[in-house]
């Protein structure tokens, strides 16, 4: 009997467990994995191939540990018509007349560039009459591995050995690792992140952002809850609905309204213009006003959550206590100070911790409004991670570094949660009521 209940419970839990796994654990684990790699646009995500390019040969040359002659040999792009190449071409089904033509006129000849070789091929009468086919036929006679992609290290090693270039074992390994196009494991993301002065600027911005918006959210939410509490119910419902609007309007539209409000051709500038104040772009015109706009945009969105929670908590306070206080002669302020606020402790603590965590990772309203500007001054950690990993002008997407930044945020989030749980004595909140023991 007991076991059946256990299974039933597990059955009910399964959707939740799957959700946690899919939407929380896997992303976090993936972030952690990505964070320890150098993945980016050039390395790709799905692994790499082996490709020796002139650029890599030059890099090896700069290191100065290589024999000049072998580097020159590596960087040559030589073509030569050999019997082996002809045999391979024949077995792959190239026309025998073409192969005969190659043997007759080009056997043994050497060409130092692909283009020259192709020009020679074009003089053969029975050549393939399609450009692509002709170019493919040239590849049977390549004597170099330059600019050719090899899927595995084994293929690459075989091809490298087949070029006949003399390399020591260490040189061989260096060529191999330099030619790898994919990502590698590394902790550089973290060392770079913490040695970079800009990191601390962004971290400071994030701190400012979280603290200011948090204070605004809680303070304004509380203010709305208290003021609407003392209004007649019809009016209070109206005002609460009005203050819910920022939360329920689509972010793009909501921010567009802010743009109309704050730009130098917008509402504020137009109205102030009637009094002779010069037009000013409040969203991007100065660092101070940009921050004010960022805080207000996010603050008005978040205040509604606090308002609803606090309002319902206030409604839950037994009216008799308030009536009794009025009989004792308490004024409104005294009611708020000595009756309502003490009862709101838990909702305030909950909203504070919840809002802190969501603000740490939120960036969408900043992205839509200032995009971190003017001049990177309102950039926050999550936004920077997004730009780094997924979205920037040069198209230089650094998945690894961005994930490392996100991982810092996840770690911080977990630490802050633990701190809040301890600070607000969560255990006491969820403890069994003593009276029923």
């Amino acid at each position: 009997m007991r076991q059946r209940i256990g299974l039933l419970g597990l059955g009910f839990m399964t959707p939740a467990l799957v959700m946690v796994l899919v939407f929380f654990l896997i992303p976090v684990v993936m972030t952690a994995v990505f964070g320890f790699t150098n993945m980016g646009t050039a390395t790709g995500i799905s692994g790499g191939e082996y490709l020796l390019t002139p650029k890599i040969v030059k890099q090896l040359e700069i290191r100065g540990e290589f024999d000049k002659q072998s580097l020159t040999a590596l960087s040559s792009n030589r073509y030569q018509v050999t019997e082996a190449g002809l045999a391979k071409a024949a077995s792959d089904g190239l026309k025998s007349a073409y192969i005969q033509g190659l043997r007759d006129s080009l056997l043994g000849r050497e060409y130092s560039s692909k283009r020259d070789f192709e020009r020679a091929l074009k003089k053969i009468k029975d050549r393939p009459r399609k450009v692509r086919a002709l170019k493919k036929s040239a590849e049977y006679f390549s004597q170099s591995i330059l600019n050719r992609r090899y899927l595995t290290d084994h293929e690459f090693k075989t091809a490298l050995a087949a070029t006949g270039v003399q390399l020591s074992a260490t040189e061989f390994d260096q060529v191999l690792s330099a030619s790898y196009t994919g990502w590698i494991w590394t902790t550089d993301n973290f060392t770079n992140m913490f040695s970079k002065p800009d990191t601390w600027v962004v971290a400071f911005n994030t701190l400012v952002y979280v603290l200011l918006v948090l204070a605004f959210n809680i303070g304004f939410g509380l203010f709305l809850a208290l003021t609407t509490f003392y209004l007649p119910s019809g009016q209070s419902a109206f005002f609460r609905a009005v203050w819910l609007l920022p939360r329920i309007s689509p972010p793009v539209l909501y921010v567009l309204l802010w743009k109309w409000l704050t730009w130098d051709t917008g509402f504020i500038s137009t109205v102030l213009g009637w009094f002779g104040v010069p037009a000013f772009n409040y969203m991007l015109g100065s660092v101070g006003s940009a921050w004010a706009v960022v805080v207000l945009i996010n603050g008005f969105v978040g205040a509604s959550l606090g308002m609803i929670l606090f309002s319902s908590a206030i409604q839950a306070i037994p009216k008799s206590i308030l009536y009794a206080s009025e009989v004792d002669g308490a004024n409104r302020w005294q009611q708020v100070r000595y009756i309502i606020l003490p009862q709101l402790r838990w909702p305030i603590l909950f909203t504070t911790s919840y809002t802190t965590l969501s603000l740490l990772t939120s960036f969408e309203y900043i992205l839509l409004s200032t995009e971190g500007g003017p001049g990177n001054t309102t950039n926050v950690w999550a936004l920077e991670a997004y730009f780094t990993a997924l979205n920037n002008y040069a198209g230089n997407l650094k998945y690894g570094y961005g994930a490392a930044m996100a991982l810092v945020l996840v770690t911080l989030g977990v630490l802050v949660s633990l701190l809040y749980l301890r600070l607000f004595k969560f255990d006491e909140l969820v403890a069994r009521p003593k009276i029923e023991n």
């Binding site: 990177n376 997924l390 979205n391 002008y393």
Partner: protein, 453 residues
């Protein structure tokens, strides 16, 4: 009788079936998708030229007895380069990139390493028309690691602009203004002369405070021009490394800080709204600025500027000091063939690109969008040759233009440079701190790939 008719009917049916099977075997249906970044409706020929090319290639195939049906799915992206590159890169990672990508040549290096694109030289004959008349320097810009990866799609350059009436108001004669391009080129009129004149124009009340000099409002190749104006070089051709010239970068940052301190531009200029910027510079609300050759279309079109040549003078970006030179950067877009689809699909895509590069087809794009041509033979196409802007801009700017280097790490260098500029310009950091911040970041992030001078 009935059986005879039936037999005849069966025979006819069999023949018809055989014929239809035969044509089905010959007919080839291919869908080629084209995504063009940074493209408004004015740039519609970036995809439409491929559609025209498809028609020509189908006809050529038919003459050779093949039935080729090409469906071209073109898409113009005008939602910022950041979003376009994000879309292409992520599509490429999931194997769904478009067959043809129209993008910056600077993407060739990282995308070729990632295997996202195929070298176009494997599919087209470089000795044949029309590739053989494309300017050598553009071919070089589309090449990387000794291979030709893409075909130049257009060329452009990024000039400095002056509002003629305002220049006249502070004492320049028409002849002086006409001589300005030459003076700039010879280094006799420098960036500091620009901001002095901008200040004069501002002080006369002709433009508002902060609008004497109105630089580009967001990141772009343009800012490298100012680095070159102060003597900076981008790449060491010997070693293939990128170059960070500390002195040149310091001087360049200092220039924008000086301009902001003089009040000819504002400290928070970066990040301003593009639409507003266009409307200001095209209507005399800014005295001096820099932009791109394609801006001509916007100024004379959407912004309603009737007399471009009567109101605007354009020059190279002036030099900043004796170490630097007057210069301009050309940032050609290229047609790239992605790794999507079979080798045959790629071959068709490459052929379409080659046909779309014919002088007449490319001129449609060049003139419609106010870009510059890619090949020498466009001078013989009426549409191109008789366009004043295209010819003047080619003569004055393109011959003096250089391009940004193709290098896998250049994108990162670019971002770091721009962030440093932002922090100095807005006053978050002193110029020296900004430059040393850039230096340390470059050293740790780029290592061997960069030379710090």
């Amino acid at each position: 009788m009935v059986t005879k008719k039936l037999a005849l009917g069966l025979k006819a049916g069999a023949v018809a079936l055989a014929v239809s099977v035969a044509t089905a075997a010959l007919a080839k249906d291919v869908t080629i998708s084209v995504w063009a970044g940074g493209s408004t409706q004015a740039d519609s020929y970036r995809t439409e030229a491929i559609e025209i090319a498809a028609d020509i290639l189908e006809r050529e195939a038919k003459i050779q007895g093949e039935e080729l049906n090409i469906t071209v799915e073109g898409k113009l992206f005008n939602d910022g380069w950041d979003n376009f590159k994000q879309a292409v890169t992520l599509a490429g990672e999931s194997g769904t990139a478009p067959n043809i990508i129209v993008t910056s040549h600077a993407d060739i290096a990282p995308w070729s390493q990632a295997g996202l694109i195929r070298p176009i030289e494997d599919y087209i004959d470089q000795d044949a028309w029309p590739v053989n008349q494309v300017y050598d320097n553009l071919i070089e810009i589309a090449s990387y690691n000794g291979q030709l990866w893409g075909m130049p799609q257009d060329a452009e350059s990024r000039p400095f602009f002056f509002w003629r009436p305002h220049m006249k108001a502070i004492g320049y004669s028409d002849a002086d203004i006409d001589a300005l391009p030459e003076k700039v080129k010879n280094g006799e009129y420098t960036l500091y002369n620009v901001i002095e004149d901008a200040k004069k124009i501002q002080d006369k009340g002709l433009v508002e405070k902060g609008k004497g000099f109105s630089p580009r409002v967001s990141n772009g190749p343009d800012y490298w021009q100012f680095y070159q104006s102060f003597g900076g070089q981008l790449k060491d051709t010997q070693t293939g490394q990128l170059i960070f010239d500390k002195q040149a970068m310091t001087d360049m940052y200092q220039f924008f800080v000086d301009a902001a301190e003089m009040g000819v531009t504002s400290k928070t200029h970066l990040g301003a709204d593009w639409n507003q910027w266009y409307s200001e510079v095209a209507n005399g609300k800014a005295a001096t600025w820099h932009g791109g050759t394609w801006h001509y279309k916007r100024y004379t079109g959407k912004e309603g500027l009737d007399d471009f040549f009567g109101n605007i003078q354009f020059t190279l970006i002036p030099s900043g000091n004796d170490k630097g030179r007057a210069n301009t950067i050309t940032h050609p877009l290229v047609y790239l063939v992605s790794n999507t689809g079979t080798d045959d699909d790629a071959a068709i895509a490459a052929q379409l690109i080659a046909i779309a590069s014919e002088p007449r087809l490319n001129s449609l794009h060049a003139i419609k969008s106010a870009h510059l041509g890619i090949g020498s033979e466009q001078a013989n196409v009426d549409l191109y040759a008789n366009d004043q802007w295209a010819t003047e801009a080619t003569e004055r700017l393109l011959v003096n233009a250089n391009a940004m280097p193709n290098h896998t790490e250049f994108g990162q260098y670019w971002q770091i440079m721009y962030k440093g500029l932002e922090s100095a310009w807005t006053g978050q950091k002193s110029v020296a701190d900004a430059v040393s911040g850039v230096e340390s970041e470059l050293a740790s992030a780029l290592g061997d790939n960069i030379q710090i001078r």
